[in-house]
């Protein structure tokens, strides 16, 4: 069973953190939405592509010890809600640091990693994860 189109469809957004900006109220959203929840009909057709910088701070975090199949090789690993500097929040894995090093308020930036694969013979999918921003 291949899920190729389902993942392929979101590639561009997941590769580059592309969301939308509401042309009516300037709010930014990630992932993309067709309608701005605040502006409703006024926003129709005005939700323009918006690329996030990938920089942000940890809003909340956890260390996953019991993982889904795709992530078993990586456990324990850190997951966080990240507040992007432009305003939206995004959920992502934090890699390249000790999982228990992650703390609320820590500065992070996006990186490009493998997210998973469709079984042993299916496609591989890629997208954003985050790394600690080191001074």
């Amino acid at each position: 069973m291949t899920k190729t189109p389902r993942f392929w469809r979101e590639n561009k957004n997941r590769y580059n953190l592309i969301g939308v900006k509401c042309g009516s109220c300037n709010a930014v959203y990630f992932p993309s939405r067709i309608i701005c929840p605040d502006c409703g009909r006024k926003s129709m057709g005005k939700m323009d592509k918006f690329k996030f910088s990938g920089r942000g701070t940890v809003y909340s975090n956890t260390v996953v010890h019991e993982a889904h199949e795709q992530y078993e090789m990586q456990k324990p690993y850190a997951i966080a809600l990240i507040e992007l500097e432009e305003g939206a929040r995004v959920l992502g894995q934090i890699v390249d640091c000790e999982p228990y090093e992650v703390q609320i308020g820590m500065k992070v930036k996006s990186t490009f990693r493998k997210l998973g694969q469709d079984g042993k013979s299916g496609t591989i999918y890629y997208g954003y994860k985050f790394v600690r921003e080191r001074e």
């Binding site: 993942f7 979101e10 990630f30 992932p31 809003y59 909340s60 975090n61 956890t62 260390v63 996953v64 010890h65 019991e66 993982a67 889904h68 199949e69 795709q70 992530y71 990586q74 324990p76 690993y77 997951i79 966080a80 809600l81 939206a88 929040r89 995004v90 959920l91 992502g92 894995q93 228990y100 609320i104 997210l115 998973g116 999918y125 997208g127 994860k129």
Partner: protein
Amino acid sequence: MKKVAIIGVGITPFGELWDDSFREIGIKAGFEALHDANISSDDIDAIYVGNMSAGRFIDQEHIGALIADYAGLAHNNIPSTRVEAGGASGALAVRQAYFSIASGMNEIVVVGGAEKMTDIGDVEVNDIQSSAADQEWETVFGATYPSLFALMARRHMHEYGTTREQLSSVAAKNHRHGSLNPKAQFRREIKPEAISRSPVVSDPLRMLDCAPISDGAAAVIMCDMGIAKKYSEHPVEVIASAQASDTLALNQRKSITEMLATKIAGKKAMEMAGIGPADIDLAEVHDNFTISEIMAVEDLGFFPKGEGAKATLDGKTTIGGDIPINTSGGLKARGDPIGATGVAQIVEIVEQLRGKADKRQIKDAKIGLAHSVGGTGSSAIVHILGVGQ
């Protein structure tokens, strides 16, 4: 709008029911409820079944027809509808039945809730549970269902100073209550220290912070209050039913230390019932994780925001406390067969209001609240039941 009554309840034991298939547990709960209500299958106008994911747990969809068939009701060609809202599927089935009776379309309705989770392995179960969260923007990125609640717990600890000891007090209390419930999956007490020491699932949440994987079914018979006395001397009245939605993914919410859907559904239900939190004698809340119960007792207005954890540790939510929460043992100890859970909560409230809750009976219980959540708070459903007039 017609008043709606509950005239019968049934529930299977919750747990690992190796010998029973999905259809068997569904039917057992239903027949117990029919028997309790003293009605025959000929009296039934419709069936609503709450079920989250039979398609993935047992490869079976079309649950409405399946249950009607095995209940022997296919002969009568009774309409049967399966309802899904993640963890709130059972509660949503109750609400659909409520609508159909209140509108006058149906007089007597059977509501069932069932899930068979142990036919497959744990890892797959975790995968299915997380499908109530956002598959495209949460789980694909490595989030598990418990990890999303762990994010809420971490933030709650950060904002309100909620402690490990307080989280453990929720599970310890629910296990104590569960030990008094013969249908509960876990009928033994667990010391708070053991909960705090159990293996980490998703920090800060540990194994004993999480509701278990369970099989089970529950059913209630609902009817027009006008005819309820024909079947039951003490019908329980559904005095309010409310529902609210929120974003599917956690990252879209302004606050993750409250469930806004719970707050709104709770407020609407209390307005509809014309009561406040202080008027409620007991509540069954959605404690799929310890942090969920803490947020629920705050969001439903039993305690101010940030004080739910302390109140639990102080014993205010135990049987005999100010507002007993989850006298059945809750999802934590009674068990959480997803689709059955929302219906099982109604069963517990009905038994309490009938004064039939045995060792866990709350004295003079007149008004009870049931609160059910789908996903990470994307759906919330609140029912308020009262002793019928």
